[in-house]
Symmetry: C2
């Protein structure tokens, strides 16, 4: 069981978020990676409703979660944490330099080519839905998401994973796609639905999701 109070690796997470964010907070990515490789981690819970503890900004300059520490390493950005874990375990990131670079490209494309479009739509729908600009902008935001999804879908084709095997690139991409769950946009791309289902059926994902949910109060 990776969640262990005595683990040297520590991540930060929230003890509460609104229901729409359950299973979407980004510590899920790190928990999932730890579960994939059986790396024990402990959790330091923060309250999303309160100002962050003094000093947290030194750990995480944007005061978000997760931050990660293990011994002398203090790290932020879920993408960087996944790459760090992958450097130390080929189950997350292949040792072969070419395959490693390709996996890194997918991790970064999830964060920079796909997530901005997805988060823009999620922000419109979840935080600004009553506002006039959001009503006017939504069709364009949907189209932008669909354009990005069509690119990933076209690449994926009949593949099982984005490259030859599961890597942190798939892990990251699937956690990004999950932010569309309040829409039916993914259904237009059956191979992306299949990718998400394939990834989410992994025991490591299931354990990570359960652990995140268990840390939310009531």
């Amino acid at each position: 069981m990776p969640v262990s109070p005595n683990a040297t690796a520590e991540i930060t997470a929230f003890n509460w978020v609104p229901p729409f964010a359950h299973g979407l907070v980004r510590d899920l990515r790190v928990r999932w990676a730890c579960e994939e490789i059986g790396l024990p981690y402990r959790v330091r819970l923060l309250d999303a409703r309160l100002p962050k503890p003094a000093g947290y900004v030194k750990e995480q300059p944007f005061e978000q979660v997760p931050s990660f520490r293990d011994g002398a390493l203090q790290l932020f950005e879920s993408g960087a944490i996944l790459l760090h874990l992958g450097e130390n375990d080929e189950r997350l990131l292949p040792r072969d330099p070419l395959a490693r670079s390709r996996a890194t490209a997918w991790l970064i494309s999830a964060l920079n080519s796909v997530e901005p479009a997805v988060q823009n739509l999620a922000s419109i729908d979840l935080f600004h839905s009553g506002e006039e600009w959001a009503r006017l902008r939504r069709p364009g935001a949907v189209e932008f998401v669909q354009q990005k999804l069509s690119r990933v879908s076209a690449w994926l084709g009949e593949r099982e994973w984005l490259e030859d095997r599961f890597t942190v690139g798939d892990l990251m991409m699937v956690t990004v796609l999950r932010n569309l769950r309040h829409t039916d946009l993914l259904a237009g791309f059956p191979n992306l639905v299949a990718l998400q289902n394939r990834a989410e059926s992994r025991p490591a994902f299931q354990a990570a999701l359960a652990a995140q949910i268990a840390d939310f109060e009531g």
Copy 2:
């Protein structure tokens, strides 16, 4: 001179973009990194006004620039290309695992914590300025950029670079900040202006910028 027709490393770039994008297209990041380490590269120019050549989508799934190839490696996403170059040259990415992870965190925070806010504002101003939603949304978009800038500025403090020395994290962050040049937002954060000036005064940046501009027609 890193630009060399016989180089084994090849990047793609555009032979034309609108003036507002001169010096902002993302091949600049890769050119800059190559200049920092004296790595020769050749350029394959694409026409931004035409559909991409058949087959380009296999190189770059989102049909953007830059893509990168060197021998058997075919890579996309400027962030992944910078990390690849950094893996092979400590002038871009420290060898020490802790320092390397920290540099990676800044590269990714530039791409995922800062750039989405910056690009959202740039999109409003450069592509949608006449639209009603853009007028209504702009104040919120500005505030979001300022919030991100204030975080980076607070971290940077009196430091010269984001960590102990120049890395691809600084390179990436500065290329993101450059996308605010049509605004006066950066002026509110003098240490970020200084960071940008410090980075842009590097001979490698100057050479990369000149090479990008030289590839635009007329």
